[in-house]
């Protein structure tokens, strides 16, 4: 570790440790109106459980600081301004700046994108006005609109892009979903119907003020850092970073306009929605063009640099969600909690896929997912607090899947399953959890074990570990098999 790296990490940790807790939550006034100010600072560290692999850095391989602030100002009873921003710095780039192993693996070359997140849209998270007159609701600005019922799969949740540039590391919500510029209008009719308890009609317009796409896990250590997938194409060659030529809509170009409508209602004690979306995929479809370039990796193997041409195709879907609890399934001896069922589905028209012979083709597709949240008491394991058990199943069906060739990255039927289990001990302060994601098609798994200790509502300590494996080579989580790691995080949250 370089001297400057030591100093930088020490400074970040000192900043966290010097904070002291305010006794009570703070709301300030500005012009006689309330303004809420909140934030947090976190310092994490990731330690690899493997070494001697080209795609993995030995011992400590990330040291991410997040400084997040938000404020909500009520200009009047029905008009609010919300702003939030975040600074993300991965001090590993300073710490390992001169480290031979780090440089041999070309991780240092990903510094431009992953050391400090300094694009305006990364620093400014949300910035919106909300006007709430009578039965209407308007929100204009950089914001997040989330649809759907499942956790993690993001089935219906297609409006905002996703930031996965730091891979599957322990992430904060504020660093994962990317807010974009949207105009949102909602209408809440006054109802006097006993079975229809509530209703909301939502309309979203994306004027494409600034096209922001998913930040994907890229190929190549020089682009993706420690999360670059390990894809070995032969005994002596692996995929390196790709050269991409992506066609994206220009600002305010109507080709980038997006429209979304949702009818959400509460009826018969169930929550359901009908959704329609017309817009662009947040990730591109790409085909490889021409011969790949080559370079030599630090371990002597050849790196293939593929050339890709791609664009962000149209995404049009009609879908719906449904959720309710199921009282018949409550069992007194398990604590009497009825599980909550969550369903989500959409049918997409003429989705675009890249084929294995490097063409673009269109097919309809159907995606659906079902999940359940069930709290149960298991007295031998936890006498005082319940266990939350949340299994999910996801199916993506591609209609008219070709027989002669494949679509890249998808089969005609694609299945995922997940399981989340958590509980609490000692005044809800200690929260262990377990998460398992199963890629059924590729027979691959991701496991996450985590324990959170909330010393107070200000200080939180997290320790966890992630493990990856896969049977199908170069597919699913197999490409992360060398990236098993443990992580630590200390957080201070102020309010």
């Amino acid at each position: 570790m370089g001297k400057s790296g030591n100093l930088a990490v020490a400074a970040a940790l000192a900043a966290v440790l010097m904070l002291s807790g305010s006794a009570a939550a703070r709301q300030y006034t500005l012009g006689g109106r309330p303004i809420d100010v909140y934030g947090y600072i976190t310092q994490g560290a990731g330690l690899s459980l493997h070494d001697d692999y080209y795609d993995t850095e030995d011992d400590i391989n990330s040291a991410i600081t997040n400084i997040f602030g938000e404020m909500n100002y009520s200009v009047s009873d029905n008009f609010k301004v919300y702003l939030s921003g975040i600074l993300t710095v991965d001090w590993i780039y300073e710490m390992k700046h001169s480290d031979k192993s780090w440089r041999d693996r070309e991780f240092n070359k990903s510094r431009d994108k992953l050391f400090v997140e300094d694009e305006y849209w990364q620093l400014l998270k949300e910035a919106h006005f909300t006007w709430n007159p009578g039965d209407f609701f308007f929100r204009v600005g950089k914001q997040i609109v989330a649809w759907g019922e499942t956790d993690g799969f993001r089935l219906m949740d297609q409006i905002n892009p996703l930031d996965q540039a730091r891979g599957l590391a322990d992430v904060e919500f504020e660093t994962t979903i990317i807010p974009i510029w949207l105009i949102r209008a909602e209408y809440y009719p006054q109802l006097q119907v006993s079975w229809l308890q509530d209703m909301a009609l939502q309309f979203i317009f994306n004027p494409n003020a600034d096209f922001i796409s998913d930040r994907r896990i890229r190929l190549g250590n020089d682009k993706a850092g420690i999360w670059a997938p390990n894809i070995e194409v032969s005994k002596n060659a692996r995929l390196g970073s790709a050269i991409e030529h992506l066609d994206e809509p220009t600002e305010f170009d109507d080709e980038g306009y997006e429209y979304a409508v949702r009818l959400q209602a509460m009826a018969w004690d169930s929550l359901f929605s009908l959704n329609y979306f017309y817009g662009r995929e947040n990730s591109p479809v790409e085909v490889s063009e021409g011969l790949p370039g080559t370079s030599e990796a630090g371990d002597g193997k050849t790196l293939l640099h593929l050339n890709y041409d791609g664009y962000y195709p149209l995404l049009r879907f009609l879908g719906g969600t449904f959720t309710r609890d199921i009282p018949v399934m409550n069992a007194s001896f398990l604590g009497g909690v009825a599980p909550v069922l969550r369903l989500e589905t959409f049918y997409a028209f003429d989705n675009t896929f890249a084929t294995s012979d490097n063409k673009f083709e269109q097919s309809d597709e159907w995606r659906w997912a079902v999940g359940m949240d069930w709290k149960v008491r298991i007295k031998p394991l936890n006498e005082k607090y319940f266990f939350s058990i949340s299994p999910q199943f996801y199916h993506r069906k591609i209609r008219d899947y070709p027989h002669a060739y494949d679509y890249s990255g998808v089969e005609d039927d694609n299945y995922l399953a997940s399981l989340m289990i958590s509980t609490s001990y000692y005044l809800n302060k200690i929260t262990p959890s377990f998460f398992w994601l199963r890629d059924v098609n590729n027979r691959a798994n991701m496991f996450k074990y985590q324990v959170i200790y909330d010393h107070t509502d200000y200080w939180r300590y997290t320790i966890g570990a992630m493990f990856f494996n896969g049977i199908e080579k170069t597919k699913g989580f197999d490409v992360f098999e060398n990236k098993d790691y443990i992580y630590f995080k200390i957080s201070y949250r102020w309010s």
Binding site: S76, G335, D457
Partner: protein, 477 residues
């Protein structure tokens, strides 16, 4: 690009200007915000009598509305004494009569027969501030017993319905027989204990519909702050309305669906909860589970919560959903039913509902100061749980016989150990005849933790379904 930027700026300016237009027909949303409350009453070491000062209802509620809510106190006293059959000052003073009004320190408690006059928990807390729990009382002021009463419309509704409210053969209330008011102002007979619990269930805290600011703190066994909880709540009573119009059912929908009450809760702190909003609709039918939803700000989604998830601790605050307001469990013959009995009916020295709000918590030792106590006639109600799978085996409720409100509750786990308890700290507005909460504290007696809350409750004529339905869920993010 430049033209579009101008358009966006114009739209934003137009929106800001439009925001200052109040929609036609909308009632003025009077009240205070959290920062204003902080200004007049700090969390610690602040004896400010905020309820009679700048934050008094008389100053916060518009005069036209306040005058409409007022009744003649003497008339209210008279009618309520007829309803319950006594005035509290006339039925107390029989136990330990040597304890006279005046100030007493914990050092006096062995010298005077406080042990006879206090319940066990109050007696144990009559001590200097010290662990493992916050909320001890080093000094108390015993004041003469007062008569408490309700607004005339509530008192009259109660009086008019005496004898009309029916119970089934198992003591459970027949919903159709209840119209408004407290259902059993003079509990008696075979189901006396259940009647007392139903009085609590139909209570008129802060009148009927009210706005509540809540700020709380959690304390570890060494009295260090470890939790913070700040929220704003809106309560809308949908049935048995007797004070704020409309009377009876709130609307036709409430009648058809048998809706009892709705509330919405917006979290302001801790930071991780900031912007989360809970909404809840309760139904009269005990077998019809609540409609319970939460807007999870971190997901930006409305999530349905299992309405049966009532036994797991809420956010480290020493309380389960069934413990809300001391006791909010549905009274059901099928789901975790109880055997009810009154185990004592006598006077105790209990916390006097504050009129000025001058009580406070001392920061150095987390004790309560400026605490006034008075002799109160009380029921001690024991609820024995018949299902061994429920979190508690027994609940002991102390209920005031005149206000018919719970003053404290003690919950025992299935091993018979005292697990959690809650003590209410009420306020009273003599002009309106309204009792409301000014705070409470919950304790976990097994893991040794205390959660302490201040309340600012305000009768709110403006609360409608708008504040407690789906639209209320997206208020911050």
């Amino acid at each position: 690009m430049k033209e579009n930027t101008v358009r966006i700026i114009c739209c934003a300016v137009a929106l800001i200007m439009l925001s200052f237009i109040t929609p036609t027909g909308a009632e003025e949303q009077y009240g205070i915000d959290y920062s204003t409350w902080e200004k007049y009453k700090s969390f610690y070491d602040d004896p400010s009598p905020y309820l009679t000062g700048e934050l008094s209802w008389k100053k916060v509620i518009p005069p036209a509305i306040y005058d409409k809510l007022k009744s003649d106190p003497e008339e209210m006293k008279k009618v309520w004494a007829e309803v319950v059959g006594f005035k509290a000052p006339e039925v107390v003073g029989k136990i330990a009569p040597e304890i006279k009004p005046g100030k007493y320190s914990y050092a006096d408690k062995e010298k005077q027969p406080f042990k006879q006059l206090m319940d066990e928990d109050t007696y144990n807390r009559f001590n200097p501030g010290q662990g493992p729990h916050a909320g001890n009382i080093p000094e108390i002021e015993v004041i003469p017993t007062k008569q408490y009463y309700y607004p005339l419309p509530i008192a009259k509704a109660t009086k008019d319905n005496v004898g009309n409210v029916k119970q089934g053969t198992d003591g459970y209330l027949i919903d159709d027989s209840y119209v408004a008011g407290l259902p059993f102002p003079r509990p008696s007979g075979e189901f006396k204990a259940q009647q007392a619990v139903y009085n609590w269930e139909k209570k008129y805290l802060a009148g009927a519909s009210y706005h509540l600011l809540q700020r709380g703190m959690g304390f570890s066994k060494d009295l260090k702050e470890d939790r913070v909880g700040t929220s704003t709540m809106w309560f809308l009573r949908l049935h048995g309305r007797a004070w704020l119009e409309p009377n009876g059912w709130y609307d036709e929908r409430a009648r058809k669906a048998g809706e009892k009450r709705m509330f919405s809760l917006l979290y302001l702190a801790p930071r991780d909860q900031y912007g989360n909003v809970l909404t809840n609709t309760m139904y009269l039918d005990p077998e019809h589970y609540d409609n319970f939803n939460v807007y999870v700000n971190v997901l930006r989604r409305v999530r349905r919560l299992s309405a049966t998830d009532t036994q797991d601790a809420v956010g480290g605050m020493d309380v389960i959903y069934d413990d809300s307001e001391t006791f909010s469990q549905k009274l059901s013959p099928k789901r975790y039913p109880y055997q009810y009995k009154i185990v004592a009916e006598r006077e105790y020295l209990a916390v006097s509902p504050t009129v000025d709000g001058s009580w406070y918590m001392k920061k150095s030792d987390k004790s309560l100061q400026n605490m006034k106590y008075e002799r109160r006639p009380q029921y001690v109600i024991e609820l024995n749980q018949l299902d061994p799978n429920y979190v508690y085996s027994k609940r002991i409720i102390y209920q005031d016989k005149e206000t018919l409100l719970n003053s404290s509750i003690y919950n025992y786990d299935q091993k018979g150990r005292l697990y959690r308890s809650a003590v209410m700290l009420y306020g009273f507005n003599p002009e309106l005849g309204i009792i409301f909460t000014t705070g409470y504290f919950n304790r976990d007696h097994l893991d040794l933790h205390t959660s302490f809350f201040y309340h600012y409750a305000l009768p709110a004529t403006w609360i409608s379904r708008d504040q407690v339905s789906l639209r209320s869920l997206r208020s911050v993010k």
